[in-house]
Symmetry: D2
Subunit: 361 residues, 4 copies
């Protein structure tokens, strides 16, 4: 209950500090009979992995995941799946100078007041490194969802002030930014190079979608699909906002404009982003998330120490100048985990339901 | 697990259809010894109540709440609190024409595919009427939080295209819009009158804040304070987006601008909205939510029926032209419930913690 | 989280004090499409109802249950079901003398230390009256289980020192003791008459079984079917012991005797009581529970008051001389709720499983 | 939700098959500031460890536990604690002959029907080897409880037909049976030697108690302390019955005999076993559990194969002739975990409570 578990039926529980010996997770509730290998999970881990371009942290971690249980002869057995990634490239000495200080905009200060103690090396549990296990666990969800025709994908839709319109999924995989438009990549690279020189950081916006959903996933009141998706996405480090479908643009819309009309051939629009009354409509599920700029910058900042005295803090260590750049696989993982959980929850209660009304897309 | 419970330690479980005999809730986990009367809860119910101005639905419900258990001689006993509101002004005949049709942008279609059956009268369980019990339950949380010096308040920050800057809390209570600036009220009234004539609806943006929080509320990974707040707020009918602090504006910000520096006298800014690493910093907790325009408008819309045939739907009944107008007390309730839950969760694990570092505001 | 919810997918949350205005429950997770009326639930409530023979408390409560939501046109909709029973025959004045004293073997003392306050009228929340809502909720589970061919039934297997061997289910319904052997009823009546004259109370043993279970219900480690059944049964007031199958008799057995061998025609014995490795085997599920003698007897007892001073306590009021007599429907309800929860949990994860191995009985 | 988590606030989630690469657990919710080393946990693991006498399985596992997170500089940080034990002495070839058969009284048959697939090597997830992680996690709970003056201890109270009266805690640690009376040990050894020659197995009864509990732990209705303790104890492999205090003996008792009277000097008896109304009374918490005889015996037994055909099964491998012999540390662990969870739950809701009534013992 200190909150390291996500999901109710398909649950992921994680542990691990940035500079501890290992990160780990237990995935519980996976249906039996799913073919699963470590390579399946490695794929997204490699997409999230640091050190693959000059635009991310230079910490180099292979992030090699091991499956320790729940898989027998290459197939899931229905029992809990243990996952482990050993940390290999910690340089804890980099952090000793901030042992007694609170870095501005970091979790240092709030952790200190909560726990009275913190593993200050690399941010400890508050490090974005924690998200590696989300990606590994999300890979299991993705694999199962794929057997049901459900595909979860994401891309960067804004880097700092630069908005990026979606062009193609192929483009997303061809650059370190998860940029869906190959023509915009040089612009992003130039922006990042300038940013690094300025010793500053910047925010980003990620869009993540799911195609192939059946209508009916989600619960009617508190555990709506969109509400739990918001929970999952907002729980990613640095996320400050979540939108479903048109999101904040809906504030200025009129009902006659926003409502997605239906015809026998399908929906005429998707302002709702695939959710009606908290339950999937069968349309594409669409979410956007806002990531704040990285707090760890080398420009000195004003802060206090453990005794409340004024200090000037310079954050050393190796950091991403834009945490949003590596956030796409993480956002996909959280959407996949949310959908997997709701798929199982839907089955639990509604196995008997037979509906003849056609499914619209 | 069909999702009618909110919270983990301070839990609210609700039932009730728009046109059924009653709405109810069970609040579990309230600390013993809290003075509590029905009048305490009625206050916010009256703020949410329909029919108080020409700008909301003309359904007239007294929404009189009864406390059925958990309070003895005016004080909570620590056992579960039963709440009940009887429905009195249902006019179910208004809805018989949509029995076999799906209203565009309503939960009709998704409920049908999920359950194969739905109480179509007034939207059944998907009606915003369900939120009355959230407000009643939230009143208990507010009462307890007040004993800890924590105050939760909200206001309308945008109506359709009209953005409203915060002026004062006094102003909020003096108009049917929860508008924090008395000078803008005539503009809002004119806008709504025009909207009604156009038989259309519009979205709104609500801002809700908490003052007086101790640092340390929230959990580090999945159950972050901001993530669970996003869950709670996104679970309100019609909400399509949630922001914490600067929200989506953080995308274009630089780290040197976004980070909230600290001095012995306090924080120098509050871009983070009171949460660092998922845990309260002690600053004002700030959230914004986007509500879509009401789906129920009298302008005909294209849809299908149970058999997949094309139909034209006109939604009769009595509806709010802007659901955002009555959403402020609901948003306050969800923030209060989230904070109450996290206050208890924090106590469970961290009772022993003693910190001498001063608390900044 | 103050523990008034049972189940994970098919959840029952209850409220209500013995002498408050009403008892209530919310049942969440019921599959849609189940025909359900108040009469379905009244049946077991009438079996549990006090005042039906001279061997139980003389408090007379009609215990008339109302369904307030979740059922539309006689059929469940899949949304949460609100249940309410109004209290009508409270005589709170009977209890004022024990306001500042702790009755021996009652919850008075432990509640006082936990909450610092208690509704002392009729035992408040600790009254066995609370179990009425379990029976009502259990009725929903029983109705659904019946559609799957699963039948839950119980009987009294021991009253004080009198052991009762099972004869027939018909006999169980023909006497106020739920005695499965009509020839033993006069003996039970004589025993109870003597007990009443002695102003004393006595314990009882109840046996509850389920027939028609599919193999596969239950979870492998902590949430075993037998473990959660033990949880449910031990949560009934006055229960001090739970056995599955041979229970404590298994201590002295040898493996060659205890193990239930299998042949193509079926199991050769049922020492296990229908559970292997925490998962149903498809055999009859068998549980026994021990209920202690009622604490409320009119014979004076030594105790202390709020200030720790010695007092002599005489418990007035109207009490059951053997709480076990009315416990059979409650035990059935808890078994039905446990099975219903596990049926849904099994479906959630294992919908895809297809096994060709024959099912043994 | 496939049930590999125990607890609500102090949670333990486990993974691992008998013959997989490793066993693991995540303990979430531990208060920060607790000194904790691997040696603290190793102590009980060594007590549970196989191969320490001729009366248990000859599999030799060092069961060396590693702490992978949540502890910094020897002290818990409040974040999730990852635990790992690598398996070293698997001999999977022993089990290939039972790949397509169901061993009588094993989980083989029920797992097969649930999942359609099972890791048959050494019982996979259903192996008692799984309990090693419970013991490791329980060690953390024990360490914290000790800081609150709460001590959990257990002993063997019956081996097959041999009942053993409690003599002293010192004696318990001096023999491989956890026998509390040194004079009875030769009798137990002779019994076990005879049993091994007969190629059979036998059941046992374990008693586990907690001293030093404050009154007030537990929740009033479903989540009673005794109910959750029953859940925890019944979830241990091979357990078929659980008693609190006098347990099944209470059936034949009278109220005047069973009720524990109170005087200013303390309780006059402890028939209740330390729980009143589901909440701790402050007396010694007493539970007994019945373990069935090991199913794995080398005497051939009748069974069926995957196709429903009759087979004769001989279980090879290395097994405990009495699983009860090593069960004492496991029972202690489950009681410690239950108490730890309830201690935190109590704090969450009742931090404000101040009671002046003296605590009796």
């Amino acid at each position: 209950m200190s909150g390291n578990t996500f999901g109710k039926l398909f649950t992921v529980t994680t542990f691990g500090e940035s500079h501890g010996p290992a990160l780990g997770a237990i995935v519980d509730g996976c249906p039996p009979g799913l073919p699963l290998t470590e390579a399946d999970l490695q794929q997204d881990l490699d997409r999230r992995r640091p050190g693959t371009s000059r635009h991310t942290t230079q910490r180099r971690e292979p992030d090699q995941v091991k499956i320790l249980s729940g898989v027998f002869e290459g197939v899931t057995t229905g029992t809990s799946i243990g996952l482990l990634i050993e940390n290999t490239d910690q340089r804890s000495k980099d952090y000793s100078n901030i042992k007694d200080q609170f870095r501005p905009a970091h979790a240092d200060y709030s952790y200190h007041h909560k726990y009275g103690i913190r593993d200050y090396r690399g941010g400890g549990r508050s490090s974005a490194r924690e998200t590696a296990m989300r990606v590994a666990a999300g890979g299991i969800a993705k694999k199962y969802l794929a057997t049901q025709g459900i595909v979860v994908r994401g891309y960067m839709s804004q880097l700092g002030p630069i908005e990026i319109a979606f062009k193609s999924w192929e483009a997303v995989h061809d650059n370190p930014f998860f940029c869906p438009d190959p023509d915009r990549v040089p612009e992003l690279e130039a922006f990042m190079d300038e940013l690094r020189r300025a010793q500053d950081s910047v925010g980003a916006k990620i869009t993540v979608v799911a195609d192939g959903l059946p209508p009916g996933l989600g619960e009617p009141v508190f555990d709506r699909l969109d509400a739990e998706l918001a929970h999952g996405l907002m729980s990613i480090n640095a996320v400050k906002g979540v939108e479903i479908g048109d999101g904040f643009a809906a504030v200025a819309q009129r009902g006659s404009e926003h409502r997605d009309e239906m015809t026998p051939e399908g929906f005429l629009s998707n302002h709702a982003g695939g959710v009606l009354g908290g339950i999937s409509s069968g349309q594409q599920l669409v979410a956007h998330l806002a990531l704040k700029p990285t707090s760890s910058i080398t420009t000195p900042g004003r802060s206090i120490d453990l005794h409340g005295q004024a200090v000037e803090v310079i954050t050393k260590g190796r950091h991403d100048p834009c945490v949003g750049i590596r956030a796409t696989p993480i956002a996909e993982a959280m959407m996949a985990l949310t959908l997997m959980d709701h798929l199982l929850r839907h089955r639990a209660q509604n196995t008997d339901v037979r509906v003849t009304t056609p499914v619209l897309r």
